[in-house]
C-alpha cells in the first residue's frame, strides 16, 4: 500500500478502541479510512504518524484474518508513544505500510510451531498466534511459551486465559519474579524450554523478545536440535522511512525494514556487528 508517487504520505486512520493493558502498555484498535483492510502478513509493521511528532514503526498485533481493522500494542517509552497514549477513541492518526517481511507462514504450513515470547515480544507474535488459531488445521502441534517480568506485566490477560483453555494449543507462561497474585511458573523463559516436546524434523520455532533473551533461548532451541533455518526471530530497530533508505535500521548490508524485521537464525548468526540479539 505504499504510494509510489508519495512514499512518505500516510493514509488517514481512526482509533476505534483504546484499552489499557498494563501501567505502560496500551492496546489500540485502528480502522483505515474507508474500512480498507491493511492486508498485512503476521509479523509486519506499520509506520504510525501523529503530525507534529516523529513517525514511529509499530508492530501489528492482529492477524490479517481479523478483517476491517488492525491492532497495535504500544509501550509508553518515548515522545511519540507518549503522545499516542494520550489519544482517545475516535482520534485520527496516519498510517503507512505494512512494511517488511513477516513470519514465513507459507513455509510453516504443515509444521509444528513453538512460539517463544518474552515481554513485548508477545505483541508481534499475537498476529501469528491469531493467524494460526484462525487457520488451525494448516499447522501441526502448536505450543506457546510466554515470559514476562512480573504478573503485572502480562499482556493480553483475557486472551492468554483463552489460549490456556484451548485443547489444540499448549500454552505455558512464566514470570521472572513472583508475587501474591501469581500462581504459575517462576523463572526465566529458558526454564520452560527443556520440557517442550519437540519433533525437530518438523518444527518451526518463532522467537520474539528483548535482545538479551535471544541468545539464551536460541541456544536452548539449538540444543533441542531445531535446525538454524527453522528458528525465526523478529528484530527491533530504529526506523525513519520503512523504505530501506534512511539507514537507521541497518545491520551490516541489510535494512531491517525491508529484509526483516523477521530473520531466521542462519541469517542472524552471520551478522558480525550491530546485532545484540546474536548468541556470541
Amino acid at each position: 500500500m505504499i504510494d509510489r508517487e508519495m512514499p512518505y504520505k500516510p493514509i488517514k486512520a481512526k482509533i476505534l478502541e483504546v484499552t489499557k493493558l498494563t501501567e505502560s502498555e496500551k492496546f489500540f484498535r485502528i480502522e483505515l479510512d474507508g474500512k480498507v483492510n491493511l492486508d498485512h502478513n503476521p509479523g509486519q509493521f506499520v509506520m504510525v504518524s501523529i503530525f507534529g511528532y516523529p513517525e514511529a514503526p509499530i508492530s501489528i498485533c492482529s492477524s490479517p484474518t481479523d478483517k476491517g481493522y488492525f491492532d497495535l500494542t504500544v509501550r509508553n517509552v518515548g515522545v511519540f508513544t507518549n503522545k499516542l497514549h494520550q489519544l482517545k477513541k475516535g482520534a485520527v492518526i496516519g498510517i503507512r505500510g505494512p512494511f517488511g517481511k513477516g513470519f514465513p507462514i507459507d513455509n510453516m504450513f504443515g509444521h509444528d510451531v513453538v512460539i517463544v515470547a518474552g515481554g513485548l515480544g508477545i505483541v508481534p507474535l499475537r498476529s501469528l498466534i491469531r493467524y494460526i488459531t484462525h487457520n488451525r488445521n494448516d499447522f501441526g502441534n502448536v505450543q506457546i511459551l510466554l515470559g514476562c517480568k512480573t504478573s503485572k506485566d502480562l499482556l493480553f490477560k483475557e486472551e492468554t486465559k483463552e489460549w490456556m483453555k484451548r485443547s489444540e494449543i499448549k500454552f505455558n507462561c512464566t514470570v521472572d519474579k513472583s508475587d501474591s497474585e501469581w500462581e504459575g511458573n517462576v523463572g526465566l523463559i529458558t526454564t520452560l524450554i527443556p520440557d517442550v516436546d519437540i519433533n525437530t524434523a518438523r518444527t518451526y520455532a518463532v522467537v520474539v523478545g528483548p535482545p538479551i533473551m535471544y541468545k539464551f533461548v536460541i541456544m536452548k532451541l539449538l540444543e533441542k536440535g531445531i535446525p538454524e533455518n527453522r528458528i525465526v526471530v523478529s528484530l527491533e530497530r530504529r526506523m525513519r522511512c520503512g523504505l530501506g533508505k534512511c539507514g537507521h535500521c541497518q545491520i551490516e548490508g541489510k535494512y531491517v525494514c525491508q529484509s526483516g524485521p523477521v530473520f531466521n537464525y542462519s541469517e542472524l548468526k552471520d551478522f558480525k556487528g550491530e546485532c545484540n540479539e546474536k548468541a556470541s
Partner: protein, 348 residues
Amino acid sequence: MKYAVINKKDLNKWIEHLNKKTKLYAPKKKENLFVFKPIKDVKEVCLNYIPTILPPKKYYFPQNEKLLKFNIDPFKAEQAIKEFEDFILFAVHTCDIAGIQCMDVVFREDPVDSNYLNRKNKMTIIGMECSEYCDKYANCTSMGNHVPKGGYDLMMSDIGEKLIIHINSEKGEKLVQRLPYIKEADAQDVALLEQLRERKKTLFKEEFAGSLTQVYEAFNEHFDSDVWKDVGRRCVACGNCTAVCPTCYCFDVVDELELSLNEGVRNRIWNSCQMDDFAKVSGGEDFRKGRDARQRHRYYRKFKYPVDKFSRYFCTGCGRCTRTCMSEISLIETVNSLISEERKGELK
C-alpha cells in the same frame, strides 16, 4: 564519440548563456575553499578548484527537504512541492559524478524514492575533468574515478587553449548546439585529449597499498581489527565526515508545525550514523554503541556493504572526509592499515 571544443576565452559567454536559460550551480571560492553556489556573476566561476566543502548533493538531496504538507484537523497530507525546477550542475568533478551515480542506485532501488528522482530528473550535469591532483587527500585513482566514466551530459577537459567537451547525452548536445563559439572538435583536439589522458596515467597513482579487490578482502577479514578501535579513539563524533560525503544519504524525518499548530510540513533532514543515538531505540537498546563501531560502520558502508548489494564502491575518492576531519583521521591511512593487518589467525 562526439566532441565539441570551446576556446577558454569564450567560456564565460557560454556560462552566461546557460545561466540565463536555466538555474546554474557552479564552484566558486569561499575564503580558501570552494563551494557550489548559484552564479550571479560568471567571473565567480572557478574551474580550477579542489573538491567543494559540500558535494553538489545538496541540490539533489537537500539538507532540509519538504516531503509532505499536512493538516492535522481535518486530516490531510499532500505533496509539498508540485513543480521541480530544471537546474544545471556546472564543472562537477568526476569523483562527485561517481557520487551521483551511487545515490541514483540507492534511490532507484525498489521501493523507489520519488522525492529524490523528482529532483534528479531535472538535473543536467556538466563535468570538469581534473588534469592534476587536487591535493594529497584524494584517493580517486584507486577508486577509478580520476577519469570520466559516464554519468554526465557533458564533460569538459582542459587541452590548453581550449576545453574539449565530450557530449554524452541528447540533453547535453542541445547545450552546445548553434553557438558560434562552440565548434566540433577536430582530430588535433582529440589528439590533445588523448595526450592529457596519457599524462594522467603517470601523474595519478593508486593511493591504496593494494587493489580494490584486496581492499574488499581486507574489509571482509578485519571486522574486528584494532584499526577500528584506533579510529574510534580518535573520532570526536562530529559527523563532518558523513555530511561532506557525496554518497552518505542517511536521514531523519521531522515535522515542523506552523504557528497555527494545525498545519505543517514533514521534512527530510540529513542525519549521520556517527551520532550516538542513530541506532538507538526508544527502549534504550543501542545497536551501534561506541565511536569505533560507528566509524567502522561508515567505512563498511563505502567498501563492503554496497559492494555486496550493488556491486559498487561507495567511496568516490574525493577525499572530503579526510580533509574535513578535526582529528585527522585519514581514509587512505585507515584503508592501508587494514590492508597491512596481519590476519588474526596468523597472529595467534
